[in-house]
Symmetry: C2
Subunit: 398 residues, 2 copies
């Protein structure tokens, strides 16, 4: 029996309940009082007060002064997250851009920078040096806003080994690339871009389902899998390789060595190729070129997008049959392309998912689009604080 | 934020730790002492002693007498699970048989009965009456052994809605079939057969990976998905519909309304049809007929099995690409057929899973074969006791 086998002692009980109170404050539509938190958590008022004191001292939570009136209405009172202290730094290395962003404890983006440019073929050390410059500028911007990032998370389009080694970034041309332990002085965790984008969607305003697939369409195609409200990474952190799921066993050869992989039908280069366009330019302008032709109603591009949507729908339907997720989010460059893809994806899902008649699957474009990844990366740092505030409380108080 | 949002108070702390101690006793190779349990859980000896007293009083745990010697060797001492009190009743309604079994707290099968016979076309009420007779006999056998099942779990080959309604049992011919709340006087929970078989594998002696797919091959093809050591059921409990995953988008029509479903290539009837045999006999002898022809080296059957293995491998490879599971178990009738299937499944997985070079995926037949389902059903009742002994402790002491 392999479940729940950690003991809970007084110390971890307090850690658990600190996080619980913090998340209640984070999740409330209006600032809750201590009594509200006690009522909704089942903790005693004395316990809540003691936990709140610790969160206030650690600059995670502030208590609005009930005597101060905010304009006309009722007095603003209760507990709120502090948005001027703890933060997360997100970084992204993509095939055709680098990005950085800072989000505060409430998930608001407080700084963002995106630097376009083809990263393919550049030595990894150079790319890391470039992204470090963005990280330094982000930290300076954070400091001006009074924010202290607790750590950095970096998204890389590739297959990871642990949190440090990029085993394969097929579109970047990376192999066995070791990433630094820190960046701009902050501890760095590296993760797959679709995973971090899925986290971004999970915690986006309005939120998502507790079970969903986030599909990242770029040169490659990847997926972030959220099950029971948590990112599922697999045995080795290699989950979500949707681009290499077979949609036609005897189909087109793929650079991975297999045949008929989804990426050969629904990746950006595959779409350009199917539309009779130059697919080898690798200019980082693939989406823009596809969009321009689609907006111009180029018949070959419209047909290529329909075929891509059909292939994507077949692969997605298989995953919904297996995983029974209620929502599929078309993310990254699939978001702007979704007007030309979504009908086909929905049709294949409707026809191929055996339970679709009882409970239709929602297919929708990402609200965050290409920004989901870097925002999700920064948000994953904030999420760690919300999950376990003890780390922040014991180390980071300025 | 949607995680870990249950408060932990003193009462639930004790419940958690009762389960923790019970599972340590269950998971130990040799009977641990109270001090061993304290050391391995991090609980104080006083806490462990108090918890052990409650488990002993509730007949879940016994303490071996250190003065009594068991033959020559060292004195037998320490805490053991009691195998003469709490138990689980498992039931199974399959297309061509009914089954019942009783397992004790240690997971040992103490009673089993299997009644062959085609259940297709029989009114569900008649089938339930037949399985009730098996349940009564199982309870009588349990009572003779001093065992008290805490509840019953029933496996049905179909798609469930909650724990009571079989929405669709396509091969049984069931639709919207309501199942009884109790059977033989015990509370009854109904679940998909592949899910319960996967639980059987998870808790089989020797255990399985923390991430694996259990594939159930019958007339239909289903999967039980174990992720991070827990059964994943999906948003509605409909996960694991591997039989309706597309392996050829323009392929054979399926009774589900889609085309190219795996079931049309790797289900028993599909294999018989592909081998030029009568696939419509529905005599419950499908596996036996396939096995006889395969053992006789019938060329058409050998080719049909190779094609079935290839189709199964394509579908399984897609799931491994997405879920990064380390083990695939060929279960139910795929277990006896695995000598003719496994090479093709392994080949497709090796060629199509992008990470297979770094970490080979283990494909193996189920050790429990067709019995996995009913044993897993009974085991799921025992598992509930191990996860939360409070229910048993507060209700079931004779």
């Amino acid at each position: 029996v392999v479940i729940r086998d950690a003991p809970i002692r007084q110390q971890s009980l307090r850690e658990h309940n600190l996080g619980l109170v913090l998340r209640r404050v984070a999740g409330s539509a209006t600032p809750p009082s201590r009594a509200d938190v006690a009522a909704s958590t089942g903790l005693t008022k004395a316990t809540v007060s003691s936990l709140v004191e610790e969160l206030v001292a650690g600059q995670l939570v502030a208590e609005l002064d009930p005597t101060r009136r905010s304009g006309a209405g009722r007095p603003a009172t209760g507990l709120v997250l502090r948005t001027d202290a703890a933060a997360g730094l997100g970084l992204e290395i993509n095939v055709d851009y680098l990005a950085a962003c800072v989000v505060d404890l409430a998930g608001t983006v407080r700084h963002r920078e995106r630097q376009r440019g083809d990263q393919r073929g550049r030595p990894p050390a150079e790319v890391i040096a470039s992204v470090s410059v963005l990280a330094d500028r982000a930290l300076a911007a954070a400091a001006r806003a009074g924010l202290t990032p607790a750590g950095a998370a970096m998204a890389v389009a590739g297959i990871m080994h642990g949190e440090r080694l990029v085993r394969l970034g097929p579109n970047l041309g990376w192999r066995e690339t070791e990433m630094p332990e820190t960046i701009a002085g902050l501890p760095l965790r590296v993760d797959n871009e679709a995973n971090l984008a899925a986290l971004g969607e999970l915690h986006a305003p309005g939120g998502a389902d507790r079970n969903f697939l986030y599909i990242s369409g770029e040169i490659g195609v990847g997926a972030g899998i959220v099950l029971d409200g948590r990112l599922f990474r697999g045995s080795h952190g290699w989950s979500g390789e949707l681009g290499h799921v077979t949609v036609d066993p005897a189909g087109l050869p793929c650079r991975c060595g297999s045949r008929g992989c989804l990426e050969q039908y629904a990746g950006q280069e595959a779409i350009l190729r199917a539309a009779g366009q130059n697919a080898d330019a690798r200019d980082g302008d693939e989406v823009a070129r596809i969009l321009a032709l689609a907006n111009g109603a180029d018949p070959a591009m419209l047909a290529a997008l329909r075929d891509a949507g059909t292939a994507l729908g077949v692969a997605v339907a298989g995953m919904v049959n297996m995983l029974d997720v209620g929502t599929v989010i078309l993310g990254n460059s699939y978001a702007p392309l979704s007007p030309w893809l979504i009908d086909e994806v929905e049709r294949e899902v409707r026809e191929r998912v055996i339970t679709a008649d009882w409970s239709p699957v929602s297919v929708r474009p990402s609200a965050l689009a290409a920004e989901a990844t870097v925002v999700g990366a920064a948000g994953s740092v904030v999420l760690e604080i919300l999950e376990n505030p003890t780390g922040w409380l014991s180390s980071a108080i300025p």
